[in-house]
Amino acid sequence: MADSAIAAETKPWRSGTAEPFIRIQNISKIFGDFTAVDDVSLDIYKGELFCLLGGSGCGKSTLLRMLAGFETPTQGSITIDGQNVAGVPASERPTNMMFQSYALFPHMSVEKNVAYGLLREGVPKEQAMARTAEMLNLVKLGNFAKRKPHQLSGGQQQRVALARALIKQPKLLLLDEPLGALDKKLREETQFELIRIQESLGVTFIVVTHDQEEAMTLSTRIGVMNEGKIVQVGEPEEIYEHPNSRFVADFIGTVNLFQGRVDVVAPNEMRITGTEAGDLITKPIEGLSAKQTVSLALRPERISISREATSAANCIPGFVEEVAYLGNLSIYRVNIASGKTIKVTLSNLDIEGEPITWHEDVFLSWNAGSGVVLTT
């Protein structure tokens, strides 16, 4: 059904020459003296599953509503497939939306709910019902056509909402916290279902979420938002391994942050002094001046923990305060001399001999290239 190769595989944003499907240019939305969205620009490519990720109040839902046509931007323009959508009402845009609460009409059957939009467009009843049946089969609800929404589980209601949103064959589908109301197991299953449906139909999805695990699983690219601005855009791996700021580093996954001043910079390494862990050796980055304040972001899985000191570039002593056993991995909270707590995760398969446990004196080690140096 998809007319071109799947965006997740071709990654058009890397080429630099591909034409973006959706251009958001300098969009702002101001309510009185409160700026909800502050000069946001984004290019999104056809067939992407793009996630807007951020905490509450960061402006992601407002941005979504502007894309849908429920809010008018105070400034800026939005272009979808070459068409500037300024002034175009929501029902006439090539977009559709799946709501957080599903917004199913409770007095209508599943079939009627899904077909409603088509019938309002003037599609003849027979044709509308045939397309409805097809769509229900796609979301695996073929046998539930005659049921009412209150007779379905949360996950099934969500699939009806998805079918209803997709049946009008929108070019862009907007999803507002689609997995928020589901329990963990169902969320995992639904994540892959969403990807499957998106790839088979070739529709561009923009998902708004505050759940970074969801964003990391679903998306081709993530746009992290904070206080109305886009802070970083990139593939999940890039956002995780190379955050561009303390905010992004802290928001995605867990991170240990050290702050210090640039001391010595050599071609292959750099020393940062004055951190809570003393002097640290890391890989240098460009554009630094002497004594500049920088942060080092270190992911817990990059630190190894041992009873004896190692010869790694960085090795500091610590005291295990807490161990959380999570089945597949263990999370250690280690206190170091300055009082700071460092989080270390270790896969339980990698443990040899006696596992390290509470109140042990240990050494934390990592290489120069394990952390990321941040200037903001």
């Binding site: 849908a68 939306m97 609460s101 599903y102 917004a103 009409f105 309002r120 929404p149």
Partner: protein
């Protein structure tokens, strides 16, 4: 001993209320039904003549005034349904209006604070050709204006309906408003995306979702209609002639003017039958809707 007391104390605490209800409410209903089969006149006469047990009801069936009362009940009932319609329209308009909701809601609810007697009297003045609206329009220059509904047997009932609508629409508006607010805001957005026109939106989506609220309003309205008394007395006292008689007025009249307790009791029993005939089906529908609602939420 202490444990035994606490086991029964809820029942003991409720006992006075239950006894009062049993005596005053159920007991008096039973008494009224009994008396309606007797020949009591000014004072209760507890003897029932087995061959003439239904004489009060036969007399009722032949009484023209009772026939008029029942007709007026139907007319008043249908006319009062407009209170629900107006209530809904006002509520929908207020709900769409972002600002000024509190102001409008207060304004429309004010009439409810006025007793039916006062409402009746004020509207009687308004219908008075030399004091009220008609006089006002004549003074403005509209000489042929006529707003004298209460003086004609054909239109008097409509005057009463108008006054009653003025008084009660605000109440139904308040109920409808809370019903409207309980609708998830995303439903409105979803309908907007489907490009549904305003009229269709309300008829096909919003009103069906508010079945529960409409049912509540219908039950409350029907109770008010059957009981209508004060507004009739204040506005027309049953006139002109007997054209605005209603069952409650008939019953009181049978007792106070005709001093016939048995006849009045028969009329009262018929009112009870009418109330149950309207109320019970609505109540059952209400309970059924509530069960469906609970099933949906669970």
């Amino acid at each position: 001993m202490a444990i035994r007391w606490s086991r029964w104390s809820p029942q003991i605490a409720l006992a006075p209320a239950v006894i009062v209800t049993a005596v005053a409410f159920i007991g008096s209903i039973g008494w009224t039904i009994y008396i309606s089969f007797t020949g009591s006149r000014r004072f209760p006469d507890y003897a029932i003549d087995p061959e003439r047990w239904s004489r009060q009801y036969e007399r009722l069936a032949k009484d023209r005034a009772w026939g008029i009362s029942l007709d007026n009940l139907i007319v008043f009932g249908i006319g009062s349904l407009l209170a629900i319609v107006f209530g809904f329209i006002l509520a929908a308009m207020i709900e769409r209006e972002k600002r000024g909701e509190d102001v409008f809601r207060t304004i429309f609810l004010y009439p409810l604070a006025i007793s039916l007697i006062v409402t009746g009297i004020v509207w009687r003045w308004m219908f008075n050709p030399s004091l009220g609206v008609e006089n006002f329009l004549h003074q403005l220059g509209w000489e042929s204006a006529s707003f004298d509904w209460l003086s004609s047997a054909e239109t008097a009932m409509y005057g009463i309906i108008l006054a009653s609508l003025w008084q009660s629409s605000g109440f139904f508006m308040a109920l409808m408003l809370s019903g409207l607010k309980s609708i998830n805001s995303e439903i409105w957005s979803a309908a907007r995306l489907d490009g549904v026109g305003v009229f269709r939106l309300y008829i096909e989506i919003i009103i069906p979702m508010m079945k529960f609220t409409f049912l509540t309003c219908a039950i409350l309205l029907s109770l008010g209609v059957v009981k209508a008394y004060d507004i009739i007395v204040a506005m027309t006292n049953g006139g002109p002639g007997q054209s605005t008689w209603m069952p409650a007025l008939f019953t009181i009249n049978a007792y106070s003017a005709k001093s016939n307790i048995a006849y009045a009791s028969a009329a009262a029993v018929m009112m009870l039958v009418i109330t149950l005939a309207i109320f019970l089906p609505l109540l059952l529908l209400f309970i059924w809707q509530q069960k469906r609602r609970k099933a949906a939420v669970a």
